[in-house]
């Protein structure tokens, strides 16, 4: 018996919407002629966004064709970067940062709270209603506002507590658009009431 890890192509076709195609052309134009393959990451992000947060095989091959690349070269890129999802995700993809700073500040609890609130059985899984996928990712570069998660490759929700993480998820479930950024109300990463000031030796 032969076993393979190759994903069979999904039935549905993929093509950029007219406005995304315009955007894609803009990305391609940023690079010298004949170097259009450099735009592959941009186009994959665009395709992932249009495709509901994940890249199907037809989407990958569409991008390959658009950039005159061999499909396998694009598959290599997609599989290398963890930011590209190769399986369908929920409408809201919650990526909890788990790298050192967030972890020290309690990312484990945030993850547990997210899983609980979103009713997702495990990391990388999608809730039964198709609304949420929760996964853990490496550093998203918001260490000063740890712990945090990223929503749908775009919005950062920072300075989370298990309760505020749950609140965000509940708001999403109700169809609202919760305010992104610090959940304790501070501006960027300024000090705020209740924050622990660095303890100097002096």
């Amino acid at each position: 018996m032969r076993i393979t890890s190759h994903r069979p192509a999904e039935a549905q076709d993929f093509a950029f919407s007219p406005e995304n195609l315009e955007k894609a052309k803009g990305y391609i134009a940023r690079y010298p002629e004949g170097r259009q393959a450099s735009a592959v990451l941009w186009l994959l992000y665009l395709a992932q966004d249009q495709n509901g947060g994940w890249l199907s095989v037809p989407a990958v091959e569409y991008v390959a064709k658009l950039l005159d690349m061999s499909p396998i070269r694009v598959h290599e890129v997609v599989s290398f970067f963890t930011m590209f999802n190769t399986r369908p995700v929920g409408r809201h993809h919650i990526q909890v940062c788990r790298t050192t700073t967030c972890w020290l500040r309690g990312s484990d609890e945030i993850t547990a709270a997210c899983l609980d609130a979103a009713q997702v059985s495990g990391l990388g899984e999608t809730s039964a209603d198709g609304l949420f996928t929760v996964s853990q990712v490496e550093c998203l570069g918001a260490c000063c506002n740890a712990p945090m998660f990223q929503l749908n490759d775009r919005d950062y929700f920072e300075d989370l507590t298990p309760d505020s993480a749950k609140a965000v998820i509940e708001a999403l479930r109700r169809g609202e658009a919760p305010k992104a950024g610090s959940q304790v109300g501070r501006v960027s990463s300024e000090a705020y009431a209740g924050s622990e000031a660095p303890k100097g030796s002096a």
């Binding site: 890890s5 190759h6 598959h75 290599e76």
Partner: protein
């Protein structure tokens, strides 16, 4: 040239080479897995670590260019330890299945683990397992054995020109994969050769033999006119496999899939005894004596002009020479070695050779292909063109069938009309050619094997002269006029003059004669590619090794030897004389072909004047001194050739409809049948439900 010290020895190395290459020049062996001298540098296996003075840690010698004053040490304790460490890491996930692995005994990993590894494992954890991939009927994958050197990815991308293999995922999850499609390249067998471990192995050869059981005979390939240098591995009477051997001037170190994998056809459909067609119209086994008597009885009543001989595509020069001698004794001028019906070849040597030479392609700066599909007619010539294309991006123009040649081409048209346009200097490509310093024209049998072949040849010659491709207008020492021959026997046959003598008939004449009854006996020397239906009532003698078209039509079958079963001389398309060697004896009563003609000459009382191969070859050299210059290409002087005439506007058609089956051996091969199914009949080589 930079001077550097390697293991306390000072050497001078040409600039631009790597430390690894410099070490090799100094005679120091550096272990490696990912580095391959004909592929780009990846530097990912880390096996080639050496110590460099003033470097904080060992360097990967394959990726480090040499510099002046470098001090390299390859035999220190640190290097030893580094190699040990790398080896241990490579073996962490490598299965210990050498006893059931086809690579066993010729495995780089096995050898290097012996030489540079620890003698025991400290690893207790589970090894990772990787699922198998589909790569077509020629390559078997056991991906758990893969060490991610990416040689196969680079070979497929760079040499084969098919981007079908890649490395997906990363870190511990990295794996080589295809998109579950067969590798649609005529050079895919080389993937198995470059794989340093047993991850990619030859599917037809799986579990067939161990390298130490095999006799290794150095020989020459006859599946096309390239004359690739091969090593035939035989066990007992059976040819187990064919591998390439390095010849920089011809095949570098690659061979085409037909060369490599048609060898299972050598064991099927063989003619192992003489046959005679009886009164009932059926072929029945006979003795050599009976067979010879039957032919001799026929010949008694015939004058020479009623006899003809046609030589096939796989014949060695010796057998054609002996048959030619025999025909001369019988008084027959009707000789023909161009069974594709080409009219050209009777002219000067320059008119039928690949004059630039295959290695010479690497000096060209523009190529124009007329009526040829080099990808199928001569895959290794195509690989050279691709190599040159990747180096320089030179323009390549094509007139003929529009096919994917694995490099960028400019399609200029389908037939003689487009040819005439360029001859008149119209269009951008004519300018490219005349501006190019070393332009090449490659004319294929799609253009020459037609009734108006002579006229087309004349036109191509005139153009070559006008555009500075060859002749007086070309740069000194450059001859860019090339004919792409397809048959291994062709140039040898033409050099020999296995052609219509004075008043003799050519192929069309012979076939017409057969139909009309003017030719009463035709001797086919391995000729299977002609239209047997046109042989009419002629008495057909078929001398050959496979029960193919010719044998089916024959009245007498004389069993001969295939190319692996005889010592033979072959002249490749460049005009390079090479010697093929016997790897196994012919089956049953079959005999080396020249001895058959020699024995028959005795029966009719006109013995040929040579009793052994040495004498025959001596006569051969006397006949044409070219045959004495083995492994050497003598450049043929430019001359006038071709005949003006009317040219039909018909488009050039490729003579090959299926690369995998072009001769009796490949048609008998099961592996080639599988390839035909996957690559030709199914098109893209998509995996089917039953694949694998």
């Amino acid at each position: 040239m930079p001077k550097l010290t390697i293991d306390e020895r000072e050497i001078e190395a040409p600039g631009g080479i790597t430390v690894l290459q410099a070490c090799e020049m100094a005679g120091v062996e550096i272990p490696r897995f990912c580095y391959h001298e004909r592929l780009s540098v990846a530097g990912n296996c880390r096996m080639c670590l050496v110590e460099m003075e003033r470097a904080p840690k060992p360097i990967a010698s394959c990726a480090m260019p040499v510099g002046d004053g470098m001090v390299i040490r390859t035999n220190t304790e640190k290097v030893q330890k580094a190699r040990n460490g790398v080896m241990e890491f490579l073996l962490i996930n490598h299965p210990l299945d050498c006893p059931i692995c086809d690579q066993g005994g010729e495995c780089d990993l096995q050898d290097q683990a012996m030489a540079y590894g620890y003698d025991r494992s400290r690893y207790q954890e589970n090894k990772r397992a990787v699922s198998e991939k589909y790569m077509g009927p020629l390559i078997k994958t056991i991906m758990t054995r893969c060490i991610q050197c990416t040689r196969c990815v680079r070979l497929a991308t760079e040499v084969c020109g098919v981007e079908d293999i890649g490395l997906v995922n990363r870190g511990e999850h990295a794996e080589i994969t295809t998109l579950e499609r067969a590798i649609d390249s005529e050079l895919s067998g080389n993937l198995v050769d470059v794989c340093p471990v047993g991850a990619l192995t030859s599917a037809p050869y799986q579990f067939a033999a161990r390298p130490w059981e095999l006799r290794k005979i150095l020989s020459v390939d006859v599946m096309d006119a390239v004359g690739s240098n091969i090593r035939v591995d035989a066990r007992g009477r059976q040819v187990m496999r064919v591998l390439p051997r390095v010849n920089e001037a011809i095949n570098e170190e690659w061979i085409a899939d037909k060369t490599r994998h048609a060898c299972d056809g050598l064991g099927r459909q063989r003619l192992d005894r003489p046959f005679l067609r009886g009164a009932d119209g059926k072929l029945a086994p006979a003795s050599w004596e009976q067979a010879f008597q039957a032919i001799a009885g026929r010949l008694e009543r015939l004058t020479g002009d009623k006899i003809a001989a046609i030589a096939g595509d796989l014949c060695d020069v010796e057998s054609m020479f002996a048959l030619k001698d025999l025909m001369t004794r019988l008084g027959s001028p009707n000789l023909e070695c161009r069974q594709d019906g080409a009219k050209t070849g009777a002219g000067p040597r320059v008119s039928y050779l690949f004059n630039t030479t295959i290695a010479g392609i690497e000096e060209a700066d523009a190529i124009w292909i007329v009526g040829a599909n080099p990808r199928w007619e001569a895959p290794l010539v195509n690989a050279r063109i691709r190599k040159r294309f990747l180096q320089t991006g030179m323009p390549v123009g094509v007139i003929g069938e529009a096919v994917d040649l694995t490099y960028e081409t400019q399609y200029l048209g389908a037939g003689p009309e487009s040819l005439a346009e360029i001859a008149e200097g119209k269009g951008a490509f004519a300018k490219i050619l005349s501006d190019a310093e070393r332009p090449m024209i490659i004319v294929g049998s799609g253009a020459l094997a037609r009734a108006d072949g002579q006229a087309l040849l004349a036109q191509c010659r005139a153009m070559a002269e006008a555009l500075g491709v060859a002749g007086a207008t070309a740069p000194e020492g450059w001859n860019g006029f090339n004919v792409l021959q397809r048959a291994a026997s062709r140039v040898g046959g033409l050099d020999l003059g296995f052609l219509p003598g004075e008043g003799g008939r050519d192929l069309a004449g012979i076939l017409d004669g057969c139909e009309q009854g003017a030719i009463e006996l035709v001797w086919l020397l391995g000729a299977d590619e002609i239209d047997m239906g046109r042989l009419g009532k002629t008495f057909v003698v078929y001398q050959g090794h496979h029960g193919d078209a010719g044998a089916h039509r024959a009245d007498v079958i004389l069993p001969g030897a295939a190319y692996t079963e005889k010592h033979g001389t072959y002249v490749n398309m460049e005009g390079r004389v090479q010697l093929g060697r016997m790897a196994a004896y012919p089956p049953g009563d079959a005999r080396e072909d020249w001895t058959i003609a020699r024995a028959f000459s005795e029966v009719i009382g006109q013995p040929l004047g040579y009793d052994n191969l040495g004498e025959l070859r001596q006569r051969l050299v006397e006949h044409n001194p070219v045959f004495g210059e083995v492994d050497h290409v003598a450049s043929a002087p430019w001359a006038s050739f071709g005949e003006a005439g009317t040219i039909s506007p018909e488009a050039f058609a490729s003579p090959i409809s299926n690369y995998y089956m072009t001769d009796p051996i490949s048609r008998a091969s099961e592996t080639m049948a599988k390839c035909t199914e996957v690559f030709v009949l199914n098109g893209a080589g998509q995996a089917t439900g039953t694949a694998g």
